[in-house]
């Protein structure tokens, strides 16, 4: 039993990201309203961003800014003392991507709404057939 508890507690960041991801995926698949689907999509992408950020963390690590650089009896740089900055940088890009995707998708939703006067998928389908 303690093993299972360990799996949940010690790796809670992974569980959180999985739960968030599934919430997003569920909304994308099961919701009927286009905006709700888009929100689900955003949650889905955010979950992956959380995942990357959480793997960069080190217990007791500090910000990856080097003190006393360039000579000056500098303390030696131990990578183990710093949090990994790379995932953060990657996620900055991923955030830009997800914002852009969200923007395009919202524009598409607006375009759909102007055409069909609704954002419910089933009604769009009905009105499409009528045209």
């Amino acid at each position: 039993m303690p093993d299972i508890l360990g799996v949940f507690v010690a790796k809670y960041n992974y569980w959180l990201f999985i739960v968030l991801m599934m919430v997003g995926l569920y909304a994308m698949i099961a919701k009927n309203n286009l905006i709700k689907k888009l929100v689900g999509m955003n949650i889905f992408q955010t979950a992956i961003i959380f995942f990357f950020i959480s793997i960069a963390y080190k217990k007791g690590g500090t910000l990856p800014i080097i003190e006393n650089a360039h000579g000056h009896s500098a303390p030696a740089i131990h990578a183990a003392e710093y949090m990994n900055p790379l995932p953060h940088v990657l996620m900055l890009t991923a955030i830009v991507v997800s914002v852009a995707t969200f923007g395009v998708a919202l524009a598409l939703a607006v375009k759909t709404y102007r055409r069909f006067q609704t954002l419910e998928e089933d009604e769009i389908r009905i009105r499409m057939r009528q045209k």
Binding site: K37, M41, Q45, I55, A94, L108, K111, T112, M128
Partner: protein, 499 residues
Amino acid sequence: MSFQYPALIIIIPVLAAVFCSALMWGNRRLVYPLCVLALTVTALSTFVLLAEVIQFGPVDYRMAGWPPPWGIQMRIDLLNGLVLCIVSVIALVNLIASFRSVEQELAEKTDTFYILYLLFVTGLLGVVITGDLFNLYVLLEVTSLAAYAQIAMGDPDRSPVASLNYVFLGVIGASFYLLGVGYLYIKTGSLNMMDIASILPSLYSSLAVFTAFVFCMVGVWAKMALFPLHVWLPNAYAYAPTASNRIMAPLMTKVMVYVMIRLMFSVFGMDYVFEELALSEHIVLLASIAILAGAVLALAQKDLKKMLTYIIVSEIGYLVGGAWLGNSAALTGTVLHVLNDALMTFCLFLAVGNMSYKLKNLHFDNLQGLFSRMPLTMAGFVLAGVSIVGIPPTCGFFSKWFLLSGALEAGNYVFLLALVFSSLINAVLFFRIFEICFFEPMHSGEDHAHEHSRSVLSEAPASMLLPLLLVAAGLLAVGLYSGMIVDHVVAPFVSGVVA
């Protein structure tokens, strides 16, 4: 002076896109010539690059001079050298061929469209050229975003919804891929493809690496529309503007197949994918199902564009199956089929674009008498159709031959049967169209005057016809010279990765 072509290939179209958007406030007439110029230079650069790779071996380009595991590396070997040429040439030819149809369909939005077009091409080229997994994700999203926006400029009723569906599946695909990259990064601490490939062998037994592989594969499959994940493709491509379905249909899926081959053979490696996992048979079965499902669904369509989109779904099955058979004949066939299928699909969609320039819709009933009305367009269409079916002098035959012999070598008869059966269905599909266009009598009786106007020659403008005929001739040329292409480009790559 060092060798800068790899960087130029990306930078030129991106800068051209920026300049074009600046020109929106200035002289709008310069936008189109600038696009043509940019893509011409890009196409020339890709050929110089491929020649370099054939002569001196893989080119290794370091962005801003940073050495590989830290900086972004571009690595061009024969495989992506070839795919780069395909992408840039098709993009250029399509830009020229689609000038009139963009004017007809998009009226005052042409400049916006050309900017999106350039960004789309940049993204594709970037995906192909990069040697960095995360960079690949970003460029993949650049491509997809440009694609979503372009698709939504098509049919006013259907295209926004079709594009939204594409967004949903595209985001799921890209996010899965990103997640896979994250798992790989946890295990290896690197994002560079070659670096990861050198670290991975010691981690083959790791469950996290397996998860990474599965996530990457499923993500890429969603983007390339492998059968159960294909639902976004037919509508998105059928309702997109002519100029963009002409470029997306041949390139988007093929570039994703390239990414899959790159991941399987250059990043994870043959040993892992085929020895360690032993999933090959199941995936080939899935691909066979995809081939058959695509073919059968194509058979059920009543609209020419829709039918062709399902043929793409079926072709994806060929490529995935070929790659997963995992022997050198099948891989040769797959790489060759990436080239051939891109050309064949391009030719088909060029012809279809010419038809839709003249006809309101491409419902089968509407196609009667097309041979007499658009003889040259139909000639191109017939060549492309014959090539998809796989009749010898055209290029489609040769890659199918390699795929078939690969399937025989692997002893995978399901895939073999699927290939043969789908070729038969393709024959039925195309000869049905030929029959409608050639033999079927036009509506007789009540509208006699109307009938007369239908049989009058009304060919598409020369700027649309010439590219089509050029590409159709290219189908024959690539078919006749396929031995040379295999010897100089495909075989050296295949023998490099397949032990």
